[in-house]
Structure formats: structure tokens, C-alpha cells
């Protein structure tokens, strides 16, 4: 029990240790606030600019969530298609891989031309950067069915769709939730990157304007906020994952 508690608090203790070391090093070497602000001055900035930070963070949050929602829908549908049909897989997979290796930040200027400055490019960048892992994981879950099980069901007259719905989809759920955890953090990256060049609101915009006015404390505060939001969402999906697909994680929690 003691080691369990220790394990739970370990990240917090580590974080506190890092912050302390950071503070000490900055003060001991008298590092300029314009190069690397101390944790304490970041905290001060967080409080001082709480109003604008919250407004911008909220903006980043909802644009990310819309983009992420889109990527769940598109990722699941595409994953279902390429995971259930060999033909669709060989037709689409190379193109999708090529598309995935295009840096999404490079698409932002194009999205601006199409949708103007604002939420549009941010939502789409979040979507474009995060649908790929969801798609790949759904497809993998579907494509790795045991052939024996498929035979058992096909003999009974099961249609391909029966097999996919009764076996394929439930089976790919653990893969799906694992991919959501990766995808949500990517979605925050997408939104923030897009806001840096193509928005007048949001944490990305806040980072750029704080940087250009040399308010390093505020810039770092923005980073802290976006990191915290991504982490909270990640943990949320972890909880959903273990709740809904406990059968796949039986090794890690005592039953």
C-alpha cells in the first residue's frame, strides 16, 4: 500500500524537484528573465494575467475539441474501411501515410487562404494532425482477427459485417482508446501551432504576442496552461479506457 501511494505522488514530487532545481539554478547563475524566467516569476505571470490566459485557453480548448471530435469521426470511419477491406487498404494506405508525413504546420498558410484568420485553420490543423493514429489503430484492431474465429462465424452464415460488428469493433476498442490518448495531445499541438500564425486569439496567439513583447513569464505561463490541458484530457481518456476495456488490461489491475 505504501509503495502504491508513493507511486501516485511520484510525478508530483518529481515536478516539485525539477521546479526547485530550475529556481535555484536561475537565481545562482543570475539568468536574465528574458532568457529563462524562474518558476516563481512564471507563477506570478499566471496570476497577473489570469484573465487573458483563461480567455485564450478556453478558445484553444474548444477549437481543439472540435478538431479532435472531427478526427474521431473521420479516423474511425477510415479505419473501419481500410481495416475491413484489403482492397481499400492497399489503395488508401500509401496515400494516407504520405499525407501524414507532410508537416501540418506547413498547411496552415493554405488553410488561412481558404478559411481566413480565426478558428477555422486551428480546428482543421488539430483534426489533420490527430486523425491518423486513430485510423491506424482501428484498422489494426480489425485486421488482426483470428482466422479460426472468423471461420467459426462464417460457417454459421455470418456476413462480413456481422464479424466486424460482433468481433472486430469490440476487439479494436483498446487500440482505439490508446490512440485517443496520443491523438488528444497531438490535437493540442495542432491548434497551438495554427494559432501562432493564423489567429488573434488562443494560447498560440498569446505565446507569439508575449514573445514579441519580451514578456517571457507570460509566454511560459501559456506553455504551462496548454501542457496542463493536454495532460488532463490524456488522464481523462486513460480513465475511460480502463473503465470500458478492463478485459484488455487485466494484467495491470488485480481482479
Amino acid at each position: 500500500m505504501a509503495s502504491r501511494t508513493a507511486e501516485r505522488f511520484a510525478p508530483l514530487i518529481l515536478l516539485a524537484g525539477i521546479l526547485l532545481l530550475w529556481e535555484i539554478v536561475c537565481r545562482a547563475l543570475s539568468v536574465s528573465e528574458f532568457v529563462l524566467p524562474t518558476p516563481s516569476s512564471i507563477a506570478v505571470a499566471l496570476v497577473e494575467f489570469a484573465g487573458p490566459i483563461v480567455t485564450n485557453a478556453w478558445r484553444t480548448f474548444w477549437t481543439t475539441m472540435i478538431g479532435f471530435g472531427l478526427s474521431i469521426v473521420v479516423g474511425v470511419v477510415l479505419g473501419f474501411v481500410i481495416g475491413s477491406s484489403k482492397f481499400a487498404y492497399s489503395a488508401m494506405y500509401p496515400l494516407l501515410t504520405a499525407f501524414n508525413s507532410v508537416p501540418k504546420a506547413a498547411l496552415v498558410p493554405i488553410l488561412v487562404v481558404w478559411f481566413g484568420i480565426g478558428a477555422g485553420p486551428a480546428i482543421l490543423t488539430a483534426f489533420l494532425i490527430s486523425f491518423f493514429p486513430i485510423m491506424v489503430n482501428i484498422a489494426t484492431g480489425l485486421a488482426t482477427l483470428e482466422p479460426e474465429l472468423e471461420d467459426v462465424l462464417r460457417v454459421l452464415g455470418a456476413k462480413r459485417l456481422d464479424v466486424l460488428l460482433k468481433v472486430g469493433l469490440p476487439r479494436s476498442m483498446p487500440y482505439f482508446f490508446a490512440s485517443l490518448k496520443v491523438a488528444i495531445t497531438l490535437a493540442f499541438v495542432g491548434t497551438t501551432v495554427s494559432e501562432m500564425t493564423a489567429a488573434n486569439e488562443g494560447i498560440g496567439y498569446l505565446l507569439i504576442s508575449a514573445g514579441s513583447s519580451m514578456q517571457m513569464g507570460l509566454a511560459f505561463a501559456g506553455l504551462v496552461v496548454v501542457g496542463a490541458m493536454a495532460m488532463v484530457m490524456y488522464e481523462l481518456f486513460s480513465v475511460v479506457e480502463t473503465r470500458t476495456t478492463a478485459w484488455a488490461h487485466r494484467g495491470s489491475n488485480a481482479h
Binding site: 474465429l149 467459426v152 462465424l153 460457417v155 454459421l156 476487439r171 476498442m173 481482479h255
Partner: protein, 268 residues
């Protein structure tokens, strides 16, 4: 009609190549299989690994169509997957997110006529599944998940899943291959009792000769790939059989005889 002669499984000069290219090169997975069984007969097919035993299963279920020759089951030429068949394999392939009971019910959610009435008559079907599970000794495990069961219990559940829709034919592909010797013998008796009670047709594919002799009415020996049937051996041991019989002289002699046939395949 040859099929009208009361045979249940009827293979006539069956050849199978997995695709046209292999057929053109005359590379067959099984060759020239002719075999027929009486209704209710328990047959075992033995042979070395990779001898086309599993191919034989696919032919008997209609999952594969023969390249040459014809397959009839229950008097009907096989033209597609046969719903009167239940299958179980070496791996239990239970779905880990379903309880034992729900795993056993899975075929009823798929095969007609159960499928269309499944929601309405679920209680009745569940009762039937519980009864079947009880006959194989899984009483009290209906609501456990597969990973909470031992390997032998999972295999029992897998056999129940194969039998829940009361198929006329049960196909078993090395079903006890992954179990320890004691559990295996226990499950021989489970299978023996199920068969004695219901008299479905059984095709048991195995490489355990004692298993084949203990359970089957007739044992067929298959050669290495391309698979051919080299020998057919009636097992005249009286029924009901119990494990004591496996230590008797006639039993050992039968096993020994089959073993020698397999040995001669290896040399050839």
C-alpha cells in the same frame, strides 16, 4: 444419387489446390480423397503436421470448394458454408469481453432461425446455454470471463459454443492439443458423453493416436502434403469406453498399428 445411400459425410475423388495458379502447377493441398461416414459416426483423422488435415476441415464445412471431385454432407452437395456445423480449434478463441455464457450464445446471435428471435427469446436460449455448460462441468462459471478460466475450462466453453445451435456435425481441429495430459483425458470423456447423448457426426482432427483410438469409430491416416488418405481403420473396441480401456492390450495394439502406418509415411 450416391448421396442417397445413407452416408452423412461423402467425399468423392476430392482434390483441392488453394488457387488457380497452384492448380495449374498441379500442387494440391489434398489429393484424391474418397471417404464416407454413416450418420452419427465419430471419425478421427490423424497424420503428421501440415498434412492437409485443416484443409479437409475447410472442405467439409464448405468454407472451401474442391478443385476437383465433389463433397456432399447429409445428402446435399456442399456449395457454401454449412450452418449445420459447429467448429472448435486448438485455441479456444473465446471473446475476452464476453462472459462464458455470452460467448456460448454468440452463434445464436448469428445463425438462423435463432438470430431473428434472439432478443425475444434470450432467456430461453440462456437457459439452454447454462444447461449445456453444466453438462461439461462449467456450472458456476457462466458469468466469469474467459481469462478467469483455466485452459481446459476455456476449451470446454469453446466446445459448448460449437454445439449451442445443435449442429448435426461437429468439427474439431486438434481441440485438446494445448492441454496437459490429465486435462486432455478428462475432456475426452466430456466429448464422449456429449456425443453419446446427442449422436451428432464428429470429425476429429488430431495427431494424438491414443485420442483417435479412444474416441473414434473409424480412424483415417493421412499422408504428408499433398494429403492423401493412406489407411482407414475401424476401431472395434466396445462402447461405452472408459479410460481403463487405454491400458488394455487390444487398445495398445490398435495404437501401435496406426503408429506403424505413420512411420511408413515418414520413410516414403
Amino acid at each position: 444419387m450416391e448421396a442417397a445411400s445413407g452416408n452423412f459425410v461423402d467425399f468423392r475423388d476430392v482434390w483441392l489446390a488453394y488457387n488457380d495458379e497452384l492448380a495449374a502447377r498441379e500442387e494440391f493441398a489434398v489429393e484424391d480423397i474418397t471417404l464416407s461416414t454413416r450418420d452419427g459416426e465419430f471419425i478421427a483423422i490423424v497424420g503428421p503436421s501440415g498434412c492437409g488435415k485443416s484443409t479437409f476441415m475447410k472442405l467439409a464445412t464448405g468454407l472451401k470448394r474442391p478443385t476437383r471431385g465433389r463433397v456432399s454432407i447429409a445428402g446435399q452437395p456442399v456449395t457454401g458454408p454449412l450452418k449445420i456445423v459447429g467448429m472448435a480449434f486448438q485455441a479456444p478463441t473465446l471473446l475476452p469481453w464476453r462472459t462464458t455464457l455470452d460467448n456460448v450464445l454468440l452463434p445464436l446471435e448469428i445463425v438462423e432461425p435463432y438470430r431473428s428471435s434472439f432478443k425475444a427469446r434470450r432467456q430461453e436460449y440462456a437457459a439452454r446455454a447454462r444447461k449445456l455448460l453444466a453438462t461439461v462441468g462449467l456450472q458456476g462459471y457462466e458469468d466469469k470471463f474467459p481469462w478467469q478460466l483455466s485452459g481446459g475450462m476455456q476449451q470446454r466453453a469453446s466446445i459448448c459454443r460449437a454445439l449451442i445451435h445443435e449442429p448435426r456435425m461437429l468439427l474439431l481441429d486438434e481441440p485438446f492439443g494445448a492441454l496437459d495430459a490429465f486435462t486432455r483425458e478428462e475432456l475426452w470423456n466430456v466429448l464422449r458423453d456429449l456425443w453419446t447423448a446427442q449422436r451428432f457426426n464428429v470429425i476429429l482432427v488430431t495427431h494424438d493416436l491414443r485420442e483417435a483410438v479412444y474416441l473414434a469409430d473409424t480412424v483415417y491416416v493421412m499422408s504428408k502434403r499433398p494429403g492423401r488418405i493412406l489407411a482407414q481403420k475401424q476401431i472395434p473396441l466396445p462402447r461405452p469406453r472408459d479410460l481403463e480401456i487405454t491400458y488394455t492390450e487390444p487398445f495398445t495394439a490398435l495404437v501401435h498399428e496406426l503408429r506403424e502406418r505413420i512411420g511408413s509415411i515418414r520413410k516414403a
